[in-house]
């Protein structure tokens, strides 16, 4: 609490024009909210002149974020003019990064064609086929946890379950699935944040990822079409033109999209259980609340802290003059705490009315494609947790990912009670 009070004090005393909410250290310390709260009040569309990622605009209020997210004619995701994340090195060949183009980094019409090639696998109709296997694995993972002992929930539950799911979607060799976790993690990192020592190492590992998938792609192309994502890409007419960069870029998008995100919501849910046990008691007494609680977990955690756009023209927005080429960051993490749209936004409320009305999946044409899969995985996880454990106690301080994009945990020590 003392630490939070200090953060709050800093955020209220330093001049607004010195705010830089992109600093990963703020994310490590979970110190963003006092900054965002002041920005929402005093400078909802805020310009940061200088950051490690260059100058950028921040959009912090819920409805303003929806307005930017749905205006792709002005606010582009296209890789040719910028990126959909603040840090250009994540997807573009600048300052050590490598080029990872994909359909999230495209505007219509090509975007639509590529998106629709992938969409069927995560459509609700298809997801029903996955539920039994998700449930079997979830039970197995939960039954293997050491009740009463301290362990890392992130590694034993969140990573394990999401990586197994991803291996299934891709029909990736199951015993090697932790390579997916590794590749997913290094896409969104830079040297110096504990995962890779140099840009060369990041590039080398991502090239290994490309080579591995090119071989899988080659095999699937020769075989009869199947329902996994690699086979779908290999047999999709729309995807035949993919060059090697776009191939890797598309895979990376699917890997990060299907992995880091749900992982963070699985961890965030455990932390919420620790902090708001009475909310979970409500759900235990009325299991039909689980889907609503899942939406609340996804809002409360907000696993993707931001998405970025690039202005295609000079554009006045909420009184601010955004210039062509400017980076515009939509802070979903802030919009999901906007008290004008969400009542008591800091509270975790399992039976919150209209819980689905949150920003975590984004809005508009780039809205999260795997949202229904994520919700199903989380629903099954919580249905099974409720059958087994009475309490999840978080022991010690959670260790958070040093990233302004991936809002999640590296280490969440917990103790479970029957």
């Amino acid at each position: 609490m003392a630490l939070q009070a200090i953060q709050s004090d800093i955020a209220s005393s330093i001049p607004l024009d010195r705010f830089d909410v992109s600093d990963p250290e703020l994310f490590v310390r979970d110190a963003l909210e006092p900054y965002f709260a002041r920005m929402r009040r005093e400078a909802p569309v805020h310009y940061c002149k200088k950051s490690a990622y260059g100058p950028y605009w921040s959009v912090t209020k819920f409805n303003d974020i929806v307005a930017v997210d749905t205006n792709h004619q002005v606010f582009s995701s296209d890789v040719s003019v910028g990126s959909f994340v603040l840090d250009d090195t994540t997807l573009n060949p600048v300052d050590g990064g490598i080029y990872l183009p994909n359909f999230l980094g495209m505007d219509p019409p090509t975007h639509d064609v590529h998106r629709m090639a992938v969409s069927p696998i995560v459509a609700p109709q298809n997801l029903m086929n996955f539920e039994p296997i998700i449930r079997t694995r979830t039970r197995k993972v939960l039954d293997s946890l050491p009740v009463g002992e301290v362990f890392n929930w992130v590694d034993c539950v969140s990573i394990e379950l999401t990586t197994m799911m991803l291996a299934t979607l891709l029909d990736f060799p199951f015993d090697e699935r932790r390579r997916l976790t590794r590749w997913s993690d290094i896409v969104t990192t830079r040297p110096g944040y504990g995962l890779v020592d140099s840009w060369e190492q990041r590039e080398r590992e991502l090239r290994e990822c490309a080579a591995y998938f090119q071989e899988l792609f080659r095999q699937r192309k020769l075989a009869q079409p199947k329902t996994d994502l690699v086979s779908m890409l290999a047999h999709s007419p729309a995807m035949q033109e993919l060059g090697p960069d776009e191939f890797l870029g598309t895979l990376v998008l699917l890997i990060v999209g299907g992995n880091d995100t749900t992982r963070s919501s699985m961890s965030g849910g455990a932390l919420a259980h620790h902090l708001y046990p009475r909310e979970f008691d409500k759900v235990k007494a009325n299991r039909s609340l689980i889907p609503n609680m899942v939406s609340e977990i996804v809002r409360w955690q907000t696993p993707i802290a931001h998405m970025r756009r690039t202005a295609l023209i000079d554009f006045e927005f909420r009184g601010q003059k955004i210039k062509k080429g400017d980076k515009v960051v939509m802070w979903y993490l802030s919009g999901n705490r906007d008290e004008e749209v969400i009542e008591r936004p800091m509270q975790f409320i399992a039976d919150r009315p209209r819980a689905r009305h949150h920003l975590s999946f984004g809005f508009g044409i780039h809205r999260c494609l795997g949202n229904r899969l994520a919700e199903m995985q989380l629903r099954v996880l919580w249905e099974e947790i409720m059958e087994r454990f009475s309490r999840i106690e978080v022991v010690g301080e959670p260790v958070r990912v040093p990233s302004n994009l991936i809002h999640g945990f590296i280490d969440l020590r917990v103790r479970l009670y029957k």
Partner: protein, 107 residues
């Protein structure tokens, strides 16, 4: 006050009375019709109030409008010529009796 019937993919019917001027999405949400999620709250920004307008009524509602609605409709699974976002259909006495069918799931 127009009466609207929502029909699920499993042929379950939900009849709702709604005030003119409301959107079909709002009518469904106010009456807790399952299958209309309306995640974005009526901005044509999520595609989770996708409906198929009955052939007898599509002439009156018109097809999905160019812009956000058409773009979101085109990106939904199983989009058809009579696909609309319910949040973009404004109810009126002229639409009294309209039938809207819902897809198997909102994506």
């Amino acid at each position: 006050m127009p009466k609207i019937t929502f029909i699920s993919s499993k042929d379950i019917r939900y009849e709702v009375d709604a005030a003119s001027g409301l959107s079909a999405m709002q009518a469904a949400v106010d009456n807790a019709v399952p299958g209309i999620d309306a995640d974005c709250g009526g901005n044509a920004a999520c595609g989770t109030c996708h409906v198929y307008v009955d052939a007898a009524w599509i002439g009156k509602t018109g097809p999905a409008r160019p812009g956000s609605e058409l773009q979101m409709v085109q990106l939904t699974d199983d989009s058809r010529a009579n696909s609309r976002l319910a949040c973009q259909i404004t109810l009126s006495d002229e639409l009294d009796g309209m039938i809207l069918r819902m897809p198997q799931g909102q994506h």
